[in-house]
Amino acid sequence: MLGITGDLALRIAKYYALAFILLLPLPLAGDYVTHLAIMIMLYSITAASLDILVGYTGRLSLGHAAFYAIGAYTSTLLSMNLGVSPWVGILAGGMLASLFGLVLGIPSLKLRGPYLAISTLGFGVIVQLMLINLDWLTRGPLGIPGIPPLPGGPLDLRSKFSFYYVALMLTSVAVYTLHMISRSRIGKVLMSIREDEDAALSVGVNVPLFKVLAFIISTFFAGLSGGLYAHYIRYISPAMSALSESISILSMTIIGGFGTLTGPLMGAAMLTILQELLRPYLEYRYLIYGALIVIVMKFFPSGIYGFVQFLSRKVRG
């Protein structure tokens, strides 16, 4: 039904298993690198989930951080106020985020290009202001400190070392799932909508249904990674839903290479690491950062992924 053969699923799974094994010894590099790796993984889930919406369906979103924030707040409030296990909370966060995705997805069906982008931008701002203004529920703009860590049985998931493996496992599963979705019949239909909406409609594709579905899938995974973030950093604030956060997620997706799913992973890794490498330059670093974005987008429209492909073609002649 999904249009994926077991063979394909297995073959892709092998690559993920390989990556998983290769990344196992990373925490030996110390807590700082481990922390960055964890952040890269959380961003990877979010950027890859945005890719379903942007890269596959051609629906531009400038409010993706709102779903990340909704996931984080849901899981936090459930576990702190109602004593729900954070594991359940994270799942609930993903579900609530995708409910909001549905709420945003339906009215924006008719919107295209920049109209959709700015509407989602508006949604992000509204979510942020609601998190600030509804302080009886969200504790207002100061945010929520003291969020419980993930319960890990014998493992202390406050330590970066053990959290890394949990995150690695969950990220592999989440990104693999997204990958399968992108290769399934759903993914192919979404791509046909991106290529030509009217043509897809004329061959009998239920375009509105699939557009909304893309929103639901994409926001679900954004919510999940938001929940993970909340229980990892153990502090959240309404700034999570700010426009600048949405823009940095979008940058990862586009600069990495949208519509490829592996591209956003590269984008998340590259941009996070770049920020760190540029740290010593303090207030001068955004000159370099901004210029690099301009250069990559001017010369490699398909992002870092495209660049890597280009290199590998060159190498093989």
């Binding site: 700015i118 509204i126 991106r194 207030e283």
Partner: protein
Amino acid sequence: MQPTLFIEQTILGLMMGGIYAAVGVGLTMIFGVMRLSNFAHGEFYMLGAFLTYALVMALGGDPYLLAPLSAIAVGLVGIALNKLVFLSLYKELREAKGAAAFFFQDLRFIMLTIGLSILLVDLALVVWGPIPIAIPSVFTSHIVRLPGGLSFSLARIMAFIVATISLIVLYTFLKITKTGKAIRATSQNPSAAALVGINTYRIYDVTMFISTSLAALSGSILGPIYNVYPTMGLDVVAKAFVVVITGGMGNLMGSILAGFLIGLAESWGGLFFGTEYRQVVAFLIMILVLWFRPRGILGGRS
């Protein structure tokens, strides 16, 4: 509620609307002609204000007299960037086929201008420092009192007048002059415009000049009122996009109308729901408008 409060709020809302419209018009023009969503638009507004400040420091005199100079300078920067960064992209798009190509181009433009915005904000921070700067002007300290306890500073009224005049000039320019007609033709159909012998790439440069110098002019006339600092452009660009989208992208009159609509919505929203909900009301109005008219109030380019 006191009627004077309502009247005052309405006037203030309309004045804000005028500012939104002035910043939004350049943004909508660029989109209309080149299909470029310029997320660095606010940075030209910021550069305009800083250049005016630099001119006041170097030459002396009033910022309102030096504003046109700074607007022209920023306009030239706009043309340079257009040639340097965007020109090859327009050419690529000319040859591309299919609906998806336009979407990819949108994404690329958005990312490029976001990168440009990051770069320019940091450039201003490095050159002029982070501390907000007040530009002295004789107009800011003059306050005009109206009957009924209403009063406004002369600078604000000046800003409103300058914005209105530049909009009228722009509108007549587009309606009457040859270049203006060519811009409108390019906006409606670039390939047809090219066929009738219009040099569309030159039109792109002209449009970029008009758009960036309008933004710079707004920055120069608002700088003395609100002070000048590196992130001032980021504070206006999101609102400018909301205005442009609500009006219909590429639609000049739509943007002006939407500017006033959003200005009023914020004022009245703050009055009735509390000022912490001002922005929520503005964004909800936009979403409502788009619900009924997916291409903005007056309809924009697809």
